[in-house]
Symmetry: D2
Subunit: 336 residues, 4 copies
């Protein structure tokens, strides 16, 4: 169960509520986010919701039968809106587009990308400065210095930044230069990282694990939310299967399933999902039809010279065409 | 390599060509379909195409580096059109919709379904009379008698029939009452069945295996084509993965990949693909955006009373809405 | 539930039992195998077993909560022994070894293999005469003529034959020359083939599907058993996963799980399971430790010249060493 | 390529070698482990090994065509021995057994487990104090205080400790009380954690990822090794597949494959591998037959009361029997 507490609740009132919940043989967890205060109760016994409802200090009580609680739509039917400032909002019924290179490489690349985004009305830029690489000998990104350079240019152009954070110690050094912290597919179940991101006042996007279940993704979101951060979105980026004709198997099914289970926005990543440049567009359009709130994809001025992931990266012409088509598709879908 | 032969070729000319190809250390297979005559050469050595081109009796020669040959787009760039008669054509740039129950149950059900299809402009009805069931104790379908009853009603209404054939001996008894033979996911690599369907003058739709690769599906199509039948289409119906939130994992990625590799039409089956009624629509729409030539799905007057697969079956209201939306989506996509 | 009927039951007695079972809202199926007569009841309602037990004509009644019935150990705790004649018995607590080439190629190969088997005390020879091949252009085996040649040589040496049957029409032509019909991984759910094999008085080995579940394998066995044939064994041969370092992923876990669920013998196929020659031995030994009743593997006088599967085939020296080690391992395990 | 450097090499000599390698268009990485100094060269060009061999300061040069280098057997054919002190050595041709509860719960449990291990000659105890849990509301372990308590009791009994480390900041606080740091399946690609463990003078065991490939596991090992730590072993613990009859699919195939690719010891974890108590023994024995250097498994005085993973945990009687059988099996296998 989730009990939303009155922000002005007294300690005595809260104690009374905790005791009443424990009396039902429920384990309780206090959650204080940047938005509200909650008491999450975990237990199995059936109970009469009115018994608790009469206690003072309670705004609302909901039964949530799912094992994840605060991210469930059974509690919060309305959609979560994530406001990044400057009229950039994710999850409010508009289509969120996030585009940019796999890796941030240098100033000129960043400027060319920003120009491309501005020209096409895209407000959020993706790019990696800390790159998780299978091999220790591969390029690992420009680090925080690259991020600062990128930030300077992006802010001038009114562009928001989404980029991957790989470990707890990076959160503080990245904090001032990031609009959305991305948790990568190899860190979906890095619970310490999730806990820490729950304590930060910045939006977070969690990618589904390389072979993560939909339920595990929701649990990972519950970590961030229950640690205090409600500015949270999820990302489908393809799963690992036996089929090797595509890099991953973009699980388009996960999009409507997630939308039915959680109030959090759901973003599609067709670049990693299918991993083949010429098929990024159809998979992006399919994802929007399946219900995605946004699309994140890779674009580069010269994909064949990109520091990483060139084989799945669009050039600017392909990117511009994709943006135009995504908008048309989204508009039609919204008319249904 | 594929050598298309002149229909009026003499035996002497053909022998000369076969000898020339064998001289290149290629293994040859003669293929005579209902449409044309070909010589398929399998080998690795590089050769000068002009050497062969000068021989008489040859219409055209193509190198095909794929291991499947006759179904490859490297040979035939134009799309295969499958004409079922009465202006029902698959693969000609129109959207093919095939709908109906999982199992044919009785006359009243068939008539209700036909009325629904006619009302909504759908020309092809699906339904099973031979049902492959994991358990020997489950309902196995009405058999040929059910097919005849269905055929009688469908023909009156101008509706074409697609239904599953499970074994060689059924082909003859079903032949007169079927417009498209469907090869189910458990029979994708039933090579004897494929061989026999290659000898029949009826359209065939091959479903991808339960965990079949895209390449295996193309090979299975090559069996039918090389045995003589060019009226062939493929169907993506979801693959088996670790994820159990959906019945199968509809592999939307397979659609654009197949379209790039083969000239055969590609049909999407969202009912089996995701297997959950409320999500059939988004996955169907996504499949069209991904490039499908058609959609096959399950509908029933009362899904909760269906003899099988009720949990993934649309009622007629949902079906009518889906048809309308698919058409709009397809039209927009075609405008790109 | 499974009701074992008295072989001398009268029709009136049987009718009375069927009626009583239907009265419990159970669906009944009469099963007459080469060994006994049964009535299988499918239903969910709880019932008092004594109610039925008093009826005449009944030998025994068992509740079986699994969805498969006749192959379940909940009904038959004792192990199934399959007697192939000439003191060759599978499942009786001895280790069954089946070895031979992937494909039967010619007389000399057959004789060399038989000599190798006789020398090493192996009584069952494997080999394919009908080969399921992904590509229609690949070698499809010598067919029935090859089988006859093989049979002649094998009988002289007291060697039993196990070989794959691919379709219903082959059963009759193969019948006289086969000791065990093998159902391949692509046909595990070819239900018509299973039904027909249930009507034959020959042992059957069903391989697990390419991505078949353990439960589906048991259901497929139920098809054969309920159609009349109790001489039945199962084979784990590796499943399809994302891991490509091995050809398949030999699922050693399936062996003890199957042994706990069914009374049928379980055979391991390490050649297809891991698919890499140098690792066939460790996987074979591991399978015995996991509880397999037997091992089937590929051996050839010159693996590098084998018509198919050479990369996973042992030469005779490796084969002889494996046989010796398997016997030692099995003996130690049996002493536990 | 891997160049082993003379420990007394001068900077000038090293610079000359680096320059020579760069002259071959190879990227170089200097690696200094607790054991030796190496120069790892990454490139594709063929070269004459004698050209480099003449330079002073070089002990040895090896071509290594694998993408992982220092963990490859192509460089180091001899097996890595990991000496934990007090005559506890892993990888030296003896069988290493590691047993204990999933979670460290309290003093009494720890003492009972230690008594059981001592009685049965087991020298290494497993147990979790930091537990990665899918749900934020589940028990997360006793933390460092639990570890200290455990350490005190274990040291008195001469027992070594292996336990999971989840994040970089825990390494320092755990360091004094740990003999082997375990990297869990959710952290196999937590590259920052791997880097840091490379800088520590403690043995490390890396578990294969939940759906990690064998190659990715070797790359992860390369991270630790190339950051300085050669005391490294790998652990197969089951992979995620479509099959749900077992918790995971223990990939016994991975054991001989890993042993052929790397000089590092390979440990099997049947408890997580199959995840069902009654089948832990056959899978453990199978893993030894497949070539494992050791086995790690869960045991508890009362599995049904364990704080976590009770369904896959052996009681002490089962554990004692398993130990005895593993030793017999290992002895027989070593005699081959």
């Amino acid at each position: 169960m989730i009990i939303q507490l009155n922000p002005k609740i007294t300690q005595a009132e809260k104690d009374a509520i905790v005791n009443a919940v424990k009396g039902l043989e429920y384990k309780t967890t206090s959650v204080k986010t940047q938005v509200g205060s909650y008491l999450v109760g975990i237990g199995k016994k059936d109970f009469d919701i009115r018994q608790l409802g009469n206690l003072s200090g309670i705004v609302d009580i909901h039964r949530v039968s799912d094992d994840y609680k605060l991210v469930s739509r059974k509690w919060k039917v309305g959609r979560t809106h994530i406001d990044l400032g400057d009229d950039v909002v994710i999850g409010d019924g508009s289509l969120s587009i996030m585009a940019g290179p796999c890796s941030i490489e240098n100033e000129s690349q960043v400027q060319l990308t920003i120009d491309h985004l501005v020209k096409n009305g895209v407000r959020i830029m993706r790019g990696g400065v800390f790159k998780p690489r299978s091999s220790p000998y591969a390029f690992r990104g420009l680090g925080v210095e690259g991020l600062k350079m990128w930030y300077t240019q992006a802010r001038k152009a009114g562009i928001k930044i989404i980029t991957e954070v790989m470990q707890v110690s990076q959160i503080a050094e990245m904090y001032d230069y990031v609009d959305v912290f991305q948790v990568g597919a190899r860190n979906t179940q890095n619970f310490n990282l999730l806990d820490e991101l729950g304590r930060v006042d910045r939006a977070v996007m969690i990618k589904r694990g390389i072979s993560g279940t939909i339920e595990e993704l929701l649990y990972s979101a519950e970590y961030v939310f229950s640690a205090g951060n409600e500015k949270l979105m999820l990302c489908e980026r393809g799963i690992r299967t036996y089929e090797k004709a595509s890099r991953n198997t973009m699980d388009v099914n996960a999009i409507p399933i997630l939308k039915s289970k959680t109030h959090l926005p759901v973003i599609a990543d067709p670049s990693h999902g299918i991993g083949i440049r010429e098929f990024v567009e159809p998979v992006a359009l399919a994802s929007i039809m399946a219900g995605a709130d946004g699309v994140i994809y890779e674009t580069h001025q010269k994909p064949e010279e990109a520091a990483s992931d060139g084989q799945q990266t669009l050039d600017f012409e392909e990117s511009a065409r994709l943006i135009e088509r995504m908008k048309k598709i989204f508009e039609l879908k919204e008319s249904f």
